[in-house]
């Protein structure tokens, strides 16, 4: 369990901002004063600094550009069309994308319309009539039928 877990989330945020150099004027002074007073806060700060050591070491490991990189990029840039032509091509590409999206939207709308027209959506697919599912008889009808049968039985008994 790290020390940082013992301080509140707000204090953790404050400490990170302090470490990142993001506190301004009075905030920094107030934070320093609290750090002087509160050992728990100091411990949390220490834990954060310890965790940051790994980042500091990794920071120094950097990939660098290989020799001849500029020449390669410049050669590739020379093969590019003029900026105006590139912009036109990009506009053309975005128009194609837009058309594709419109066509897709139209196809979806057509599909929905077709389903609606064929009655599959309107009380069809949605309430299960178009499927082979069983429909429950309303309770009142069942009660009525039961009462009628009871009446029939009673009338037989009476006879």
């Amino acid at each position: 369990m790290s020390f940082a877990q013992k301080v509140s989330e707000n204090d953790e945020r404050l400490l990170y901002r302090f470490l990142d150099g993001e506190l301004v004027g009075d905030e920094t002074v107030a934070c320093r004063a609290r750090l002087e007073r509160e050992p728990l806060l100091r411990q949390a700060l220490q834990a954060m600094q310890d965790r940051a050591r790994g980042f500091v070491t990794v920071r120094s490991e950097a990939m660098v550009a290989p020799a001849g990189f500029n020449a390669k990029v410049l050669a590739a840039a020379r093969r590019l069309p003029e900026r105006a032509a590139l912009r036109e091509a990009e506009v053309g590409a975005s128009v194609v994308v837009m058309c594709r999206r419109l066509l897709l939207a139209a196809a979806i709308l057509f599909g929905i319309g077709f389903l609606w027209h064929s009655g599959l959506l309107d009380g069809g697919l949605l309430d299960g009539r178009a499927t082979d599912s069983l429909q429950a008889t309303p309770r009142e009808a069942v009660d009525r039928e039961m009462k009628r049968l009871d009446d029939v039985i009673l009338s037989w008994k009476a006879k």
């Binding site: 470490l19 990142d20 150099g21 050992p39 310890d50 965790r51 790994g54 950097a62 660098v64």
Partner: protein, 225 residues
């Protein structure tokens, strides 16, 4: 071109104007100024130098193509970083679709790098003879954990911890507000801390380390910006 040779220390806007005017030398100068930063940033996402070079080439070609759309509302390097981060995250999603391995060695995350259970009470003191080894170990583990984080947390940690960008600069690169930067960075650090505690408890700060009673640090990090 002549002005460029006379004064190699042209500002970014001057170089950009020269490039838009057709100067190849100005583009070369701009690349010289930023290529190492671009490679360094790409190297945080991609460990293969060849792929990294391809990505960097794509980044600079995109800069060349889109330079006329740069609005000068932000610093040039934040715009360049945005393009670089986008290229890197596109690369990651492509690579993930191809199910390629992006990190160099998965064995780190199973605890072997931290020495597993044998690390209880290890000395984290920088003065210890084992300190360089521990530092290397912590660095390897740090890299591994960052590589495994979701892209948005990974990116924000890279920009803050490796590239040392301020919150404002990160907000400009990611095109979000300061509050978003702060909260996302906090969550990323929480994730990092949790992963460290879960997979490498021996490397967790405070693990067997007594309070050093050290006073508050003299100056917060990043003050040299």
């Amino acid at each position: 071109m002549f002005a460029l040779k006379q004064n190699p220390e042209l500002s970014d806007p001057e170089l950009i104007a020269a490039i838009l005017g057709g100067s190849e030398a100005a583009f070369g100068a701009l690349m010289d100024r930023y290529k190492d930063r671009v490679f360094r940033l790409l190297g945080r996402y991609c460990r293969d130098p060849v792929e990294c070079e391809d990505l960097a080439q794509d980044v600079f070609l995109k800069v060349f193509r889109k330079l006329d759309t740069f609005q000068h509302e932000s610093q040039f390097f934040t715009w360049l970083y945005r393009i670089t981060v986008n290229a890197a995250t596109d690369y990651l999603s492509r690579a993930s679709r191809r199910r390629l391995r992006l990190v160099e060695d998965d064995s780190m995350l199973d605890g072997s790098a931290s020495g597993g259970s044998g690390g209880a009470g290890r000395d984290h003191d920088a003065q210890s003879p084992a300190a360089p080894l521990l530092r290397a170990e912590l660095a390897a583990v740090t890299r591994q954990i960052v590589d495994k984080l979701p892209e948005k947390y990974r990116t924000i940690l890279i920009l803050r911890e490796f590239e040392d960008l301020s919150y404002n600069e990160i907000a400009a690169v990611l095109q979000c507000n300061l509050g978003t930067v702060e909260s996302r960075l906090f969550r990323a650090r929480q994730r990092f801390k949790e992963a460290l505690e879960r997979h490498h408890p021996a490397l967790v700060p405070g693990h067997g380390v007594p309070d050093r009673g050290s006073p508050a640090p003299g100056a917060p990090r990043g003050g040299d910006r």
